[in-house]
Symmetry: C2
Subunit: 238 residues, 2 copies
């Protein structure tokens, strides 16, 4: 658990860093912000529980929030991790149904809470925000399509390779290596691919032996991402 | 393959049977239809291929269209089956990216083609259509969430039970039995749950022996859907 953040972090001065609000003028942005409030979360704290009836929308200001499907302890699927500027919780604001997933702070975090009625006023007034929201929803659907492919077509081993590629970023030193930093623990990777910690540990050890990945205290380094891609392609074509 | 449908099926007289267009006046509906055209498909014919660059939107007038993720022959995941009044192909119209899945006629089918520019004119002019479209996208996301849960948390056997429940409807004789009619072949069920035909056949035989389901030439009958639900709950909690 991290330290408890101060109770009154000042509300950030703009929401225009969030893609769907990018078209607002400075004045509209201010007017919108004046009708929102800020919420501080400690690491591990829940923002929304699965099947809650709340309908507010959130923008992450700092820290990391994770969307999780959860049945019982140990049966979780991570849908995504959201950072500064990301919009969250829009489904219930759109269709009025209960929450489709849990939202939980991974680190200490600050979010702007956009009340349901305020969100709809903005949609009513700004066609560009509507279009931006549709594009956001489309992006989510495309990402879920890929996740469904991964889960439907690949066995555990290849789902792990795919998740390593999906969760990593280029190391940024001009080479081909990719990096996951901070490094995820095996239990967390297991939740990304619908498998067990034990299976992930076994496969990670094998990848380290094969020198395809390397693990340090600060990162998982994909030494040979091309090899991982190649194995996935072979599995899909086989 | 079915018979080739006549070349000029008259365009249906309304699109208001489609949820997102329900708020249009008769006049607006006519104006919209006058800018659309009709396309006839034979069973097995492709309407859209994965990664195509087309951006038109479709409304099913008759027959069945299936959305499929496909890698190679034998590696397919069925995303959904669409019938009269259903809207299809909206993602590329919204975000301008290539097609996220293939659309294929399962039976002979007729669709209304709404050209990209026409679709955007309607969105521009009608706030209710925008909201309806957002609700449709939200519904798709919620359905995909369930699919991801199913694939992440359940083993093959329980995914099959879940798919049988999801794909069936109440038999409608006042009892609890559910029915899938026409009956799906095992290869098709396998595509719904990311498994092999052999595994599905083995599990279906077991369910028949246990008298949980019955198979006739015209339907799969779920004699005891409550038992299937109970087994799924136990697997999720276990």
């Amino acid at each position: 658990m991290g330290a408890i953040p101060p109770n009154n972090v000042p509300c950030l001065s703009t929401l225009r860093g969030t893609a769907i609000f990018a078209s607002l003028t400075a004045e509209e942005d201010n007017e919108l912000l004046s009708r929102c409030h800020t919420r501080n979360l400690c690491a591990g704290e829940s923002l929304v529980d699965f099947e809650d009836l709340s309908k507010d929308v959130f923008v992450v200001q700092s820290g990391e929030i994770r969307a999780v499907l959860r049945f019982t302890v140990g049966k979780e699927a991570i849908l995504g991790t959201f950072r500064r500027g990301d919009l969250l919780g829009e489904l219930s604001a759109i269709d009025g149904l209960s929450r489709s997933a849990s939202l939980m702070a991974v680190t200490d975090a600050v979010v702007t809470v956009i009340p349901y009625a305020v969100f709809h006023d903005v949609l009513e007034a700004h066609r560009d925000v509507c279009l931006g929201l549709m594009q956001l929803l489309s992006r989510r659907i495309r990402a879920m399509n890929e996740r469904i492919s991964e889960l439907s077509f690949l066995d555990t081993k290849h789902r792990l390779y795919n998740a390593l590629l999906r969760l990593s970023r280029l190391r940024g030193d001009g080479g081909r290596e990719r990096i996951i930093s901070p490094p995820m623990v095996h239990a967390e990777l297991a939740e990304h691919i619908g498998s067990s910690r034990e299976t992930v540990s076994r496969e990670m050890s094998r990848l380290i032996r094969e020198q395809v990945i390397e693990r340090t205290s600060r990162a998982i380094i994909l030494k040979n991402p091309v090899e991982l891609s190649r194995r996935i392609s072979r599995a899909l074509e086989g």
